[in-house]
């Protein structure tokens, strides 16, 4: 009997496959995590300025008042919130909650919607 040899590991061509929505939400978890990691030094710097001398606080205000900085901070706020919501979804999936296809799809949509809505609400409150 001929032995069937499966090619493992299997690599998917990311440019050819069509990713379902939960897949996108999942890859955004990775993208947001990587973005937050890369932006840690500027964030810690701003954190230090916000807790520093009056001069530091003036610098903090000048930086965070710049439109480009606001845009970047809004992006990081989204990254944090998306990572947070997706993290909770992962913890629930780990506990075998919502693992049916329909529920898992619904929770993926919820992660996307809730994190975007929170970004708008908190972004307006904190940045503008």
């Amino acid at each position: 009997m001929a032995e069937i040899v499966k090619k493992r590991p299997k690599y998917l061509n990311l440019l050819e496959i069509k990713l379902p929505l939960p897949g996108w939400v999942s890859i955004l978890h990775r993208v947001s995590g990587a973005g937050l990691f890369l932006m840690l030094p500027p964030l810690i710097w701003l954190f230090g300025l916000s807790l520093g001398s009056p001069d530091n606080i003036e610098t903090f205000k000048a930086i965070t008042g710049h439109p480009l900085a606001k845009l970047i901070l809004l992006g990081l706020l989204w990254a944090y919130l998306h990572h947070f919501c997706m993290g909770i979804r992962i913890l629930l999936l780990d506990m075998h909650k919502g693992i049916e296809k329909a529920q898992a799809r619904a929770s993926a949509v919820a992660v996307l919607v809730v994190s975007l809505a929170l970004t708008v609400v908190l972004g307006v409150k904190l940045l503008w």
Binding site: R30, G33, A34, I44, G48, S50, L51, I57, F84
Partner: protein, 117 residues
Amino acid sequence: MVNPNPRIVVGAGYGLKDWLIQRVTAGVMAIYTVLLALFLALYGDGFEGWRAIMANGLVRFITFIFILSLCYHAWVGIRDIWMDYVKPTGIRLTLHVLTALVLLGNAGWAAQIIWRL
């Protein structure tokens, strides 16, 4: 005899530990985030209020735990990214080491900010 399951220099750690730590640190950070949001909503009035919150002994204590959790969490997460996309051992090891060093430095820097208050 050839070892059928050779250990790789830049492998994941071969166990449950990293998976579990990723969940535990996530839980710690989630609870901290909600607590800090609550403190900010209650007492975070301007830069003075913000400073008063962060200078509080208990907040400083949990903020330090948050910083350590974040850096360990980021270590596991970023290392997983390198392991998925970077195959040559030398480059991967270099990236692992750089990631760990950057995170250690960040942790020390952030801890120093909260402790000088």
